[in-house]
Amino acid sequence: MSVLVLADHDNASLKPATLNAIAAAAKLGPVHVLVAGHGCDGAAAAAAQAPDVAKVLKADAAPYAHPLAENVAPLVAGLARGYGHVLAAATTVGKNIMPRVAALLDVQQISDVLQIDAADTFVRPIYAGNALATVRSGDAIKVITIRGTAFPAAAATGGSAPIETVGDAGDAGLSSFLRSELSKSERPELTAARIVVSGGRGMANGENFKTYLEPLADKLGAAVGASRAAVDAGFVPNDYQVGQTGKVVAPDLYLAVGISGAIQHLAGMKDSKVIVAINKDEEAPIFQVADFGLVGDLFKLVPELTAALPPRK
């Protein structure tokens, strides 16, 4: 039976996590991708180029200009009846829409799946990743969000799946988009970056993120993240937050600067391939997960490190 993937996109292109969801879906059956948007030819064309995709369903209508759960969920639920599984990446869009889909279908969603053991059996984190639960679903349609970092992204190009237009489910008339304030950044997106440089309470203030961390990040071509403590202290906005209550990342290299390593932060980065910690407290728990630890004053060490790195290719 085919698998339906709800694409996370901005009408022009796919969000990177969609390719992770496609990769997870491909383990379960032929993949159909639903692109619900408005003026979304670009995103639909991008989905059609992924070799793992057998078919793209495009719903292009004004109520989908923004991914409002009240409008998108009935569309997904309507299409879902022909599928065994409905998947989305556990981005804020997937997390917002999919439980609404699941309830419309009267099924119990499986959130944040890390591993697919069988068509009905999945592994997911509980207690901030301090335990892993293997769960089996008896529901006829499995509604699932997947953790992007647990599934390597599917290839983005080389395919040419057909694009089929599907009708829209109309405007539920319950919600409307007013505005967004998106952080503008030339740096890669946190969840898709190959290298992440994160600061914690040890950064002392927001200005130091700019003075110390950003030059290091730019030299490495890295994204900038933060611990919840740094966000709570107002150093940086919440969308920088890495952890149980923020974003989950698993880059090739994660540099934790002035971060003590609270459980809730570790939950968001412990699957990184290589972890480096810079902290003045040599007893800090972050050193228990770091591959390479450097004990000392970050305000001295970070500029040294930035200077010592080779210029970006």
């Binding site: 917002n96 892993l132 639960a133 304030e181 050193f287 591959d291 390479f292």
Partner: protein, 249 residues
């Protein structure tokens, strides 16, 4: 406006959770339990709406064993007016909780239901969205700001790239994110007063809901432990290791 606010009893966020040796779950015996932190934010938001004269009554709802009464008392001490406990010792999954809330909405007719965006035990992040779906209501999830405007709600949401503001129709379900507010500590006089506030006890049966779980937990395991690495003496050694050993730069 009447507000229902959900308060879940969970293992306290400061407790290091341990997986049971037989792999059936995590240790909960003799472990400190508290209100789910996102639900505390929900109670605080409801109380602030009442203090602004927007909310008229706040009903704190918990579902679970008899001990969940304590969690409701905490909400009452923060400023909720009365409580409802849907008492059961059975496992409740989000779809069942959403159905129980739907039954309570039919009974109580609130204009707004505030829930935490996720509980820190199962980390599901589903109940609010499911409840909104079952009721056919609007949902304002992951809220960092809630402002009533012209008979609707303006909800600012934490999304991946930053913030997004929606206008949603009432009645509605709102789920809280961390930055919505900082919950207050209950004062001693308010804790004393809370003891006199009423708590009604109901059962899933009385609400006409079958709460049977849809997911069977086959096993619970500890994640693979990450081994601590080495301490390097200076920046030069770190750069060397990253370049030549780990090959990540």
């Amino acid at each position: 406006m009447k507000i229902l606010v959900g308060v879940k009893r969970v293992i306290d966020y400061n407790v290091k959770v341990r997986v049971k040796a037989d792999g059936t779950g995590v240790e909960t015996a003799n472990v400190k339990m508290s209100m789910n932190p996102f639900d505390e934010i929900g109670v605080e938001e409801a109380v602030r709406l009442k203090e602004k004269g927007i909310a008229t009554e706040i009903v704190a709802v918990s579902m679970g064993p008899a001990a969940a009464q304590e969690t409701i008392r905490t909400a009452l001490a923060m400023g909720a007016d009365r409580g409802i406990l849907v008492q059961t010792d059975a496992e409740l999954q989000p779809l069942a909780v959403a159905k129980l809330f739907k039954a309570l909405v039919a009974k109580e007719s609130p204009q707004l239901v505030i829930l935490g965006k996720q509980a820190i035990d199962d980390d599901c992040n589903q109940t609010g969205q499911m409840l909104a779906a079952l009721l056919g209501w609007a949902q304002g999830t992951f809220a960092s700001k809630v402002a009533p405007a012209d008979g609707r709600l303006e909800v600012t949401r934490e999304v991946d790239g930053g913030l997004e503001t929606l206008s949603i129709a009432l009645p509605a379900v709102v789920t809280t994110d961390l930055r919505l507010n900082e919950p207050r500590y209950a004062s001693l006089p308010n804790i004393m007063k809370a003891k006199k506030k009423p708590i009604e006890t109901l059962t899933p049966d009385a609400l006409g809901v079958d709460p049977a779980p849809r997911l069977v937990t086959l096993k619970v395991a500890e994640p693979a432990k990450r081994l601590a690495g080495v301490k390097v003496k200076d920046v030069a050694e770190l750069v060397d290791k990253l370049k030549n050993e780990a090959k990540v730069i």
